[in-house]
């Protein structure tokens, strides 16, 4: 019976951990499918996390201002500011045709430095703690389903459902509309798309900005769900890079990344909560911490050989 209680504790947390990674990976999917390698998911998510923290703290400090409205506004600001930052990457890699890997790394460094700089000027310590995040709630009706109810529909965050809806919409947009076909074609064979009269540069801008919006949402999710604090020292602990790994592991397909991000979310949960359960108590903390990253490497080894990467990803047009 202890096993069941472990599962009912781990799975809901794993779902919460999955959503930021899923949003990062989905953002990467838009960008890479349009033909722009995007290594700055980490920086974009970090920027989103910081922007939402700063906004929510300022708004929640206003007496009488609704906490929930502050959270909503914080998420919107996070998405907008990450999208702005992603424009830098878009400009460098689309208009200037510079090395996209370097540009992405520069954005990561820029994001780390600028958020630290701003956080220091805002709070002094560099850590921003919000008064409260999203309160978990049960989904009506569905949470009473036996087995599935306690695992997936009890004590959920509402952002989880938004993320899942966005994931579904993205699948529809990319695979069931002519816009999606064009976007994907830009990542495979841009000259063919261009000769059909599509503006490749515009499509790629849309791809990169979408990755900024989604990564910003992912970063904000980290803050308003399980973290509750923007920590200048640890940032988001490489979740953005994990999202890129999930994108590769998921073979650049929406269903694939849903599976791979849930796998990583599960690994992260086990690593973070391991000490709570007697099952894992004998494993040293170092091994538990290492687990998600080793699992990622193994997953990459298994999946990278027959890579389905978009052909023109990383190629300037």
């Amino acid at each position: 019976m202890e096993f069941w209680s472990v599962v009912t504790t781990i799975i809901p947390s794993a779902v919460a951990y999955t959503m930021p990674i899923l949003m990062g990976a989905l953002g990467g999917l838009y960008s890479e499918r349009s033909g722009v390698t995007n290594l700055c998911i980490e920086g974009l998510m970090l920027f989103g996390c910081f922007a939402s923290a700063a906004t929510i703290v300022k708004l929640q400090a206003i007496p009488g201002f609704s906490y929930s409205l502050a959270i909503v506004l914080g998420i919107v600001v996070a998405m907008a500011s990450s999208a702005l930052l992603s424009l830098l990457h878009a400009f460098a890699s689309i208009n200037l045709k510079s090395n996209q890997v370097i540009s992405g790394t520069a954005i990561n460094m820029l994001s780390t430095a600028v958020t630290l700089f701003l956080a220091q000027t805002i709070t002094g310590s560099g850590n921003i703690t919000i008064v409260r995040g999203i309160i978990r709630s049960d989904v009506p009706v569905l949470s009473h389903i036996p087995l599935l109810g306690p695992l997936f529909f009890s004590r959920t965050y509402w952002t989880t459902w938004i993320c899942l809806v966005l994931w579904g919409l993205s699948w529809f947009l990319l695979y069931r509309t002519s816009f999606g076909l064009r976007l994907r074609a830009c990542g495979e064979h841009p000259s063919a798309v261009a000769s059909a009269g599509v503006n490749v540069h515009r499509m790629r801008y849309i791809g990169v900005i979408a990755s900024g919006l989604l990564s910003g949402l992912g970063g904000a999710c980290i803050l308003v769900t399980y973290a509750g604090e923007y920590n200048a020292g640890s940032g988001i602990n490489g979740l953005g890079f994990l999202a890129i790994a999930a994108l590769i592991f998921g073979q650049w397909k929406p269903l694939g990344i849903l599976g791979s991000t849930f796998f990583f979310g599960l690994c992260m949960t086990i690593a973070n909560m391991g000490k709570v359960f007697s099952v894992f108590q004998n494993i040293p903390a170092g091994y538990l911490g290492m687990f998600p990253y080793v699992a990622t490497l193994v997953a990459l080894i298994l999946s990278s050989r027959k890579s389905a990467a978009p052909l023109a990803s990383g190629e300037p047009f």
Partner: protein, 397 residues
């Protein structure tokens, strides 16, 4: 004749000019940030220079800080020459550092330093090389992108250090740090310390200088360097020419890892004498900045590292002015963004050179007309061209 032709076209922007422009723009961006929070940028930069260079002790500290930046910059640059992007320098550095620290802890204290120091440096380098090799192996055999694998290996190294410190070298009084390495077992030297007022400057700096020369030698004077660069510029062409691409990738990553491992030894057994649990060194990412700014040439890397060393050491003196010390990192990041988008800078300078050249050309034509010279301008030598353009400038006016 060839010499003539070469001089008679507009100058092209050199990598050096582009790098200097990027630095300039980075400093401007930093100034804008300082202005935004209502402080005086000149005071800020004066403090940075003061903090980094105003005494022999401060200069020693700056060079001590630059040591690992040189080595990591070389590591990133070396991998870059083979077309690989090594962002795993932090992890390789941690592996080198933990190996060096364990060696320093367990080797007998009465061992002669001539014997001890090479063992320390070589084991640390080997540990880093192993860590780099893993990424190279995964890239060559399983097509795992080195960027993702090195990042995963960074975190794995982070947790290994987290596990090894309490297991092997814990300081019982502070349980999150390793026991300080005794002075005789660090890379510090008495004469360097007394020369620079007990700064962090240590033998590692000479190691960095030596490695700069070694990397330059490998890349420009050996067959190995040539084949690595060939793989970097076009792997299919290199393969066709009979160069083994997958072993080149593995060698390149292993050498890059070894250089970062050495950086770990100089950092944790020279610059500092302890390792902390749960701390990812920033130097790995700064090293990328160093390599890019130095245009991946060993000498360029060396000077770029010293420049960043000045920024990073000098930022400590900013505290009194109320400017957050992160401004230094902001400047570094901006410099890298401008280096990445060097097309803009190169175009800017090329355009200027082209304009000034066509102005000169006009002047030369005017001067030749005035002198009654019937030769075509292509036949002029460099000196004649210069002289005539000076004369012609008056004619045009």
């Amino acid at each position: 004749m060839r010499k003539n032709l070469r001089t008679l076209e507009a100058r092209k922007a050199s990598p050096f000019l582009v790098s200097i422009s990027a630095v300039f723009l980075g400093i401007i961006a930093g100034s804008v940030f300082i202005l935004l929070i209502g402080k005086n940028p000149f005071v800020g930069f004066e403090k940075i220079l003061f903090g980094a260079l105003s005494s022999s002790r401060r200069i020693g500290n700056t060079l001590g800080m630059s040591t690992q930046l040189v080595l990591i910059g070389l590591s990133v640059a070396f991998a870059f020459k083979t077309g690989l992007f090594n962002i795993g320098a932090s992890g390789q550095m941690l592996m080198g550092g933990i190996t060096g620290s364990i060696v320093a802890y367990y080797l007998p204290m009465d061992m002669p330093r001539v014997l001890y120091l090479p063992i320390l440096v070589i084991t640390a380098g080997l540990a880093g090389a192993l860590w780099g090799f893993i990424s190279g192996f995964l890239k060559a055999k399983f097509n795992v992108h080195e960027v993702v694998s090195t990042i995963m290996l960074n975190w794995i190294a982070y947790w290994i250090v987290y596990d090894f410190i309490p297991r092997f070298i814990i300081d019982p009084t502070i349980s999150v740090k390793s026991k300080p390495i005794p002075l005789e077992h660090t890379l510090r030297a008495e004469w360097l310390r007394s020369l620079t007022g007990f700064s962090t400057l240590n033998y590692g700096f000479f190691l960095a200088v030596i490695m700069t020369v070694v990397v330059w030698f490998i890349l420009t004077k050996t067959t190995l360097g040539f084949s690595l660069k060939a793989v970097g510029s076009n792997r299919f062409c290199a393969e066709y020419a009979g160069i083994k691409v997958s072993s080149s990738i593995m060698i390149s990553m292993a050498v890059a890892g070894a250089l970062s491992g050495l950086a770990g030894a100089t950092y944790y057994c020279g610059y500092s004498e302890i390792m902390e649990m749960g701390k990812m060194p920033n130097e790995g990412f700064d090293g990328i900045a160093v390599a890019l700014l130095g245009n991946c040439s060993p000498v360029g890397v060396f000077f770029a590292a010293v420049f960043f060393g000045i920024l990073k050491m000098g930022k400590g003196s900013l505290a009194a002015t109320g400017i957050p010390t992160e401004i230094a990192d902001t400047i570094i990041a901006t410099v890298i963004y401008f280096t990445a988008t060097n097309v803009i800078l190169a175009n800017f300078w090329n355009e200027r050179f082209r304009k000034s050249f066509s102005r000169k050309e006009e002047a030369v034509l005017a001067a030749m007309k005035a002198n009654g010279d019937t030769r075509s301008p292509g036949e002029l030598s460099q000196d004649e061209f210069r002289k005539l353009s000076r004369e012609g400038r008056k004619e045009v006016k």
